[in-house]
Amino acid sequence: MKLLVAVDENAYSRYAVHQAARLAANTWPDMVMLAIEKNRTYVDEDDLNPEEAHPKIRLLHRCRTDFLEALGPDVDLYGREEDLTLAHKPGKVLEENASGRKSFLLHLRHGDPVKAITAEARAEKSDLVIVGCGHHDAAWGRGSDVPGKVADAVECSVYIIRENMTPSRVVCCLDHAHVSQESLELINQWVTLYGAELEVAGVLKHGDLRENVEAKMTEVLDYYLDRGIQARVRVVDESSLEAFIEAGGENDLMALWLHHQSPLKRLFSTSKVASLVNHASSSMLILR
């Protein structure tokens, strides 16, 4: 698995880094930690030391330290050296390589945060992007509603983590039968890490649960029950789905399987996914 954690200076990013470390301790992913800086206006950056020329490098160093501390001293997956060298990579990316047994890259991009995160996820072929965000708005970095736009724009799964929320229930909305094994395992990870309950909500189309969705729900239920995870099932009308997701409380993690064949994909146009993610009270996991 390849995990991308996008960070800014706010406390929610530190929280997201901690959660990423919990996942990393279980799944041993290749890591990329990304910070985004303003477009550089100065020309002679070679005259400055890297931390002065790129202050966000300090942020990345702090996040990396937090991440390694959260992993614990016994987890020997990533490099722990302090002196890293900043190198220019194609695509205007600045990189420090902190890899150990598993790859760990600190990346610095500049420009618009949404475009930078999307480009990074694509370039690194990430499986999951983790972005922290505040409780009542989704301001991130310098832009407003960045998490929502990222959730909509990237091609892989995205987890928008609201600060200091430990979900006691993970609610997965399912409206199609193309659930990948990776997404099932990812949910399994979060349910186990949070000690949360799992609820699978099937989406009804015109009042009916389509046969293939029903069969998939049975499979998903069996998959989790076989692993000793108490999963519950529920259905929700397509027309009430938005209200259902918005009704997710602060202790919920709402997960949406947005496969390209998913009617949800049509139901939630670009602005709706962004708006749902930005305005929900719960943390959101978009599975692709």
Binding site: E199, A201, G202, L204, L209, E214, M217, T218, L221, L225, Q230, R232, V233, R234, V235, V236, D237, S240, A243, F244, A247
Partner: protein, 265 residues
């Protein structure tokens, strides 16, 4: 005492699958045997209006298909509770055939799976259906397989407490059953009877029969919060007045809650 018999529709659906598994998991708690029933509903194609041997052989074909489906489901579920060996297979309207079997077969309980809906309209529709309005025994609606054996006896101002307790004692013959008594209301202003009086009355009747709840409490909140508060229970037992079609706050709670519910009427 003879083992109680529960009539359970067996179909290739998630709801039916959940109901069967839950029932077997709780067979010890409830002390019941499972009588599977399957109803093949004829389509409206011309062959169904044929008469004589054509109709007979068409119906027996449907019955055969139904029997195969039941056997397939029962085999795949590998149930370890007591399942009566001869599943009942009928052809016709599901509601009518089940109602007929409940009336004729002397079953103690009807058990059906239902996947709980965010919109409680479906639950109300179920309660208004001919089957639910006319069935001669209590109904257990199973929404999820819940491990917990905790039971809650639900009361509201419309509950016939005497009747509910009698039904409860019929199903839970062990006086040591772990159960709570819960009086639900949106608020306790001008409630007649007041939730505390309901709890006291139920407590008295239960005591006379030798039962003691582990906990007796009042739940005062909206249906959403109440359904959340109740979700750890493995079973909710409630009384429902089938003559009254009025939507009550307790019906809303029962419509939303993800635990199985035993409706006594």
């Amino acid at each position: 005492m003879d083992m109680m018999k529960a009539l359970v529709p067996v179909e290739m659906t998630l709801a039916s699958n959940v109901a069967l598994r839950y029932l077997c998991q709780k067979a010890g708690l409830l002390g019941i045997g499972v009588q599977p029933i399957h109803v093949e509903e004829p389509d409206h194609k011309p062959h169904s209006s044929e008469t004589g041997w054509i109709r007979k052989s068409w119906e027996s074909g449907l019955r055969q298909a139904g029997m195969e489906e039941v056997q397939r489901v029962l085999k795949s579920e590998k149930l370890d509770c007591f399942v009566l060996p001869n599943p009942i297979v009928r052809v016709g309207s599901r509601e009518d055939r089940i109602l007929e079997e409940l009336r004729m077969g002397g079953h103690d309980l009807f058990v059906e799976g239902e996947v709980v809906n965010f919109n409680t309209g479906e639950f109300r529709k179920r309660l208004r259906s001919k089957l639910y309005r006319q069935m001669p025994c209590p109904a257990l609606i199973v929404r999820n397989m819940i491990q917990s054996d905790r039971v809650a006896l639900m009361l509201d101002e419309k509950t016939d407490v005497e009747y509910l307790v009698a039904q409860f004692c019929k199903f839970f013959t062990d006086t040591g059953t772990d159960f709570d008594l819960c009086a639900y209301a949106m608020d306790d202003l001008h409630r007649d009877p007041h939730p505390d009086e309901l709890l006291a009355e139920a407590g008295r009747i239960l005591e006379k029969r030798g039962y003691a709840p582990a906990m007796a409490y009042t739940l005062l909140c909206g249906p959403d919060s109440a359904s959340q508060a109740l979700h750890d229970y493995g079973l909710l037992v409630a009384h429902m007045d089938r003559k009254s079609n009025r939507k009550s706050p307790l019906t809303e709670v029962l419509g939303l809650v993800s635990s199985p519910i035993l409706l006594c009427w």
